[in-house]
């Protein structure tokens, strides 16, 4: 399980949320209103909409009312934006034009949604023949040259903007289809959809209840973009003189204004300005919604800078000292790794620091296996990652120090793991065995390539020598046919095999310390036993120190010399493996061991009823 999920499970439950609507949407709306561009674009669109809706009331003249005696007039108190070449009021035409332009753009988007959305939902949910067929139709639609189709439509059905937008809607429907289909495909096999099926929900209610919510947001964003495109294309056609001259629309006004561009340039300006404002607002609104959906990534960065500036003064002294790394405490140089009062935290949006590791101290000697045991969210992986220097960018060392082989990798007072110091160690003297073997091999390269390249870089040996070594390593980790595995791609080997490959990689540069993060959790029990055997053999043969992060006491009993028990970021208990597993002193360790099923009476209650009240 990934650490991010674990920490989310750790966070305390917030108070009951409001009972209105879905909470997801309301927070998105709130974030949307915090975005100045979002508010601005919404205000512009709202104003445009209101002006269009109340055009009949607001416009002083009919859209085609012409005053022949007053053509191309400058703005005055009667015609506030002047008149055009036929003596029609520009302001009135602009308002009626907004009505027609916006409504027809909406028609275009509506047609595209009505066709694309249901088709996408059905194709995504049922797949099979309908999907194959609709993919053909979509490909045909997308290969049609849009402008030529629209010109043909005009020739066949006349200059009506409604008909043109109807066909444009059909031409644009594939974009909705593809969007919807891929969104649905991503949730079609989610377990909650299966659970709904088991509950006997009809397909229709599954789609409306469980699937539609996934496509809602992308559809809104897409619609903002499509409406903009519709306005642009429609106006483009009308500008070319293909519009209906009897109706006022922005495109028609633009076309007429162009004819008098030398006499009265403002005739061109107003419709263009209205269009630019509307299309711009639509695009910005789409962006704002997308930003609102993509969490508060921006706030974090700003906070980080503020945080750094704040700390700069106090840390400058420590930084000056860190150029010449302080010597470690005398008498502790012989420890391979020594972690002293380590604290790891994540600065939060509100300025506080959420500690995930707090005041943890332990050491590992050469040739020793130390187990770090704990449940999810106990901070065991974070501790291991801070030794490796692989914490996320947002993490801070909030206290303590880490030393490796007599030198500080994190000196006291430093708030960051020094990548400069660690990159010299990582891969050469400290190596790592991950939890998920498959996701730690790059599917694009052969296993051999992924073993050889680091050796060539780190050890500076030739490629052929590295290849020879890789073969030997593969047979060392118990792979029966090293040659075949060497040439294989990651997807061609099993999970257990992939883990052996990663172990081979971890020992390839003869490290002093191996950090194994739940190395067998993703494996079957029988494979786990083999991999544990392998780690034990290698450890004995090479005499390396090992830090084994795990939640499984069986694995601890199998491998470890000493154990550290962690809970909620703190170190609970430390000691030799036999002491901890047989006579744990702390209650937490006792509870954990009591939860083991081994040796329990079948069907008996595991947790004494007195402890039941504790929340999980």
């Amino acid at each position: 399980m990934s650490e991010s999920v674990e920490t989310s499970a750790l966070t305390p439950l917030p108070g009951t949320t409001g009972q209105t609507g879905t909470v997801v949407r309301s927070t998105v709306l709130k974030r949307l209103f915090k975005n100045p561009l979002g508010i601005l674009s919404m205000i512009i669109l709202l104003t445009m909409g209101l002006l269009a809706a109340f055009a009949d009331v607001l416009a002083p003249f009919e859209e085609n009312f012409a005053n022949i005696s007053k053509t191309l007039a400058a703005p005055d108190s009667v015609n506030i934006l002047g008149t055009d070449s036929s003596g029609r009021d520009v302001w009135s035409r602009l308002l009626f034009g907004a009505q027609l332009t916006l409504l027809s753009a909406l028609l275009c988007a509506a047609v595209a949604i009505v066709i694309g959305l249901p088709a996408g939902l059905i194709a995504g949910y049922y797949a099979g023949k309908f999907e194959a067929m609709s993919n053909w139709v979509v490909s045909i639609l997308m290969s049609l040259p849009g402008l030529i189709v629209l010109l043909t439509v005009r020739a066949a059905f006349g200059p009506s903007v409604w008909i043109a937008m109807l066909f444009l809607g059909i031409l644009l429907s594939p974009s909705y289809f593809r969007l919807t289909r891929s969104a649905v495909q991503s949730v079609r096999n989610e377990l909650y959809v299966d659970a709904a099926r088991v509950s006997g929900l009809s397909d229709l209610s599954i789609i409306t209840r469980h699937i539609f919510s996934v496509v809602r947001a992308p559809i809104i964003i897409q619609t903002a973009a499509i409406a903009g495109v519709a306005i642009a294309i429609q106006s483009g056609l009308e500008f070319l003189g293909l519009g209906d001259p009897s109706k006022a629309s922005w495109g028609v006004m633009l076309s007429e204004g162009f004819k008098n561009v030398y006499l009265t340039p403002s005739l061109l300006f107003w419709p263009a300005f209205a269009m630019a404002l509307t299309i711009g607002a639509l695009v910005l609104l789409g962006n704002a919604i997308r930003d609102a959906l993509e969490d508060q990534e921006k706030i974090k960065h700003r906070r980080k800078k503020a945080h750094e500036a704040e700390d700069a003064a106090s840390a400058s002294a420590a930084k000056a000292a860190s150029k010449t790394v302080a010597a470690v405490e005398a008498g502790t140089e012989h420890h391979l790794v020594k972690v002293t009062n380590l604290g790891v935290g994540y600065p939060q949006a509100d300025g506080s620091v959420k500690k995930v590791v707090d005041d943890v101290s332990f050491h590992v000697d050469r040739g020793e296996i130390l187990g770090i045991v704990g449940e999810s969210g106990s901070g065991k992986s974070q501790t291991a990652f801070s030794i490796l220097g692989l914490l996320p960018d947002t993490a801070r060392i909030v206290g303590g120090a880490i030393q490796f082989d007599g030198n500080y990798t994190v000196a006291p007072g430093e708030d960051n793991v020094s990548q400069e110091r660690l990159s010299k160690l990582r891969g050469k003297r400290i190596s790592y065995i991950p939890q998920e073997p498959m996701s730690n091999l790059d599917p694009a390269f052969t296993i051999g390539y992924q073993l050889v390249t680091p050796m060539v870089r780190v050890l500076g040996i030739s490629k052929s020598e590295a290849t020879k070594r890789a073969m030997k390593l593969l047979s060392d980790v118990g792979i029966v046919n090293p040659d075949r595995t060497f040439k294989a791609y990651p997807h061609e080997v099993s999970g257990g095999m992939a883990q052996r490959v990663l172990i081979a990689g971890a020992i390839s540069c003869e490290p002093d310390l191996i950090i194994a993060d739940e190395p067998t959790t993703a494996l079957d029990v029988t494979v786990q036993a083999d991999v544990l055997d392998l780690i034990r053999d290698l450890q004995r043969r090479l005499g390396v120190g090992v830090i084994l992060v795990t939640h499984n006491f069986g694995v601890v009993a199998d491998l470890c010399d000493r154990v550290v028990v962690m809970q909620n970021g703190r170190l609970v208990e430390e000691g030799p493996v036999r002491d901890i597993l047989r006579e744990p002193e702390e209650r937490y360790t006792q509870t954990l061991l009591a939860s083991m099923l081994e040796g329990k009476e079948p069907m008996s209650m595991l947790v004494p009823s007195s402890a039941k009240e504790n929340v999980l």
């Binding site: 750790l10 909470v23 099926r197 009809s202 009591a594 099923l597 069907m603 595991l606 947790v607």
Partner: protein, 301 residues
């Protein structure tokens, strides 16, 4: 112990006939590409579950144990054999028949993070199966409260979203959803594998308590022999799409016959260094023995 014995005695052969029977079940998936060979996920499966009984299904990843659970639920295609529930053949049940069936047969999935729709409140999630059966809103609301109480969640959980809960609490919600219609059989697909050790213990307790209170039957799928031993009356072991061994839990999980089950038993480590060392040695001995037997068999053939 007396309770288990009594329960075991009550489950004589005729009682077991009762609830679910799977006979010669075959599940095949269409291969990729035109006229591709079908992929056979399950071969000739025979199991039965009686009222109030738990059948544990154990096996490694890819052994087909999850597929068997899904075939019973109608989520995997049955290409051969028969699934009978209370005497009725349900192997090719339509969606309408399934809706009726869902009153008696429910599911708890492995991953509590994806088995609950993240956009729905807990109350809506729990009311869903009730609504399908046409229960009125007021009655459904009352039932939801009862369910939350039954699985040990506070009643203010109704208006919260799944992400506000920890893994163990979410699994409780999933269990409550399965219990909503008071089913006779719950298919549990690795329901405790994603949970921490202490959480796993509490959730197992909950499963046992519910069975005691309601007499529900479980088809309990897990890769963990210890979990299956703890919760099951009988255990079936799956290996490469077939059931290789089946019998009372105590026997199958302590003195198994089949070489694979023997390997499985000795592979799971015990939480004591010295006993684990012994078990490790036993395992190596067993692997060596089985290797020699295989060689002999190969030599004879």
């Amino acid at each position: 112990m007396t309770e288990t014995a009594a329960l075991g005695a009550a489950l004589s052969a005729p009682a077991r006939e009762g609830l679910l029977r799977v006979e010669n079940l075959v599940v095949e998936y269409a291969g990729k590409g035109f006229r591709a060979k079908k992929f056979r996920a399950l071969t000739d499966i025979n199991i039965s579950i009686g009222h109030g009984e738990t059948l544990g299904l154990v096996g490694e990843s890819g052994s087909g144990k999850t597929t068997l659970g899904r075939a019973v639920l109608g989520l995997a295609p049955v290409s051969g054999g028969k699934v009978t529930f209370e005497g009725k053949d349900i192997s090719q049940a339509t969606r309408k028949q399934r809706r009726v069936l869902s009153r008696d047969m429910q599911v708890v999935f492995q991953d509590p993070y994806t088995s609950l729709n993240p956009a729905l409140e807990i109350g809506d999630i729990l009311a869903e199966p009730l609504g399908v059966q046409g229960m009125e809103q007021a009655a459904a609301k009352k039932r939801v409260r009862e369910l939350l109480d039954q699985v040990g969640l506070p009643s203010d959980a109704i208006h919260r979203l799944p992400r506000e809960f920890s893994g163990g609490q979410r699994q409780r919600v999933a269990i409550a959803r399965a219990l909503a219609l008071s089913p006779k059989l719950i298919v549990c697909d690795e329901p405790v594998s994603a949970l921490d050790l202490s959480t796993q213990a509490r959730v197992l307790d909950l499963f046992l308590q519910i069975q005691k209170d309601t007499g529900v039957s479980y088809l309990f799928v897990s890769h963990d022999l210890d979990v299956v031993r703890h919760i099951s009356h009988r255990v079936a072991v799956m290996y490469r799409g077939e059931i290789v061994e089946q019998g009372p839990a105590e026997i199958v999980t302590r003195n198994p016959d089949h070489p694979y089950t023997q390997r499985l038993l000795l592979a799971s480590p015990v939480p004591d260094p010295d006993r684990q060392e012994k078990r490790r040695a036993e395992r190596h001995r067993l692997l060596e023995e089985q290797r020699q037997q295989n060689e002999q068999a190969a030599a004879l053939a």
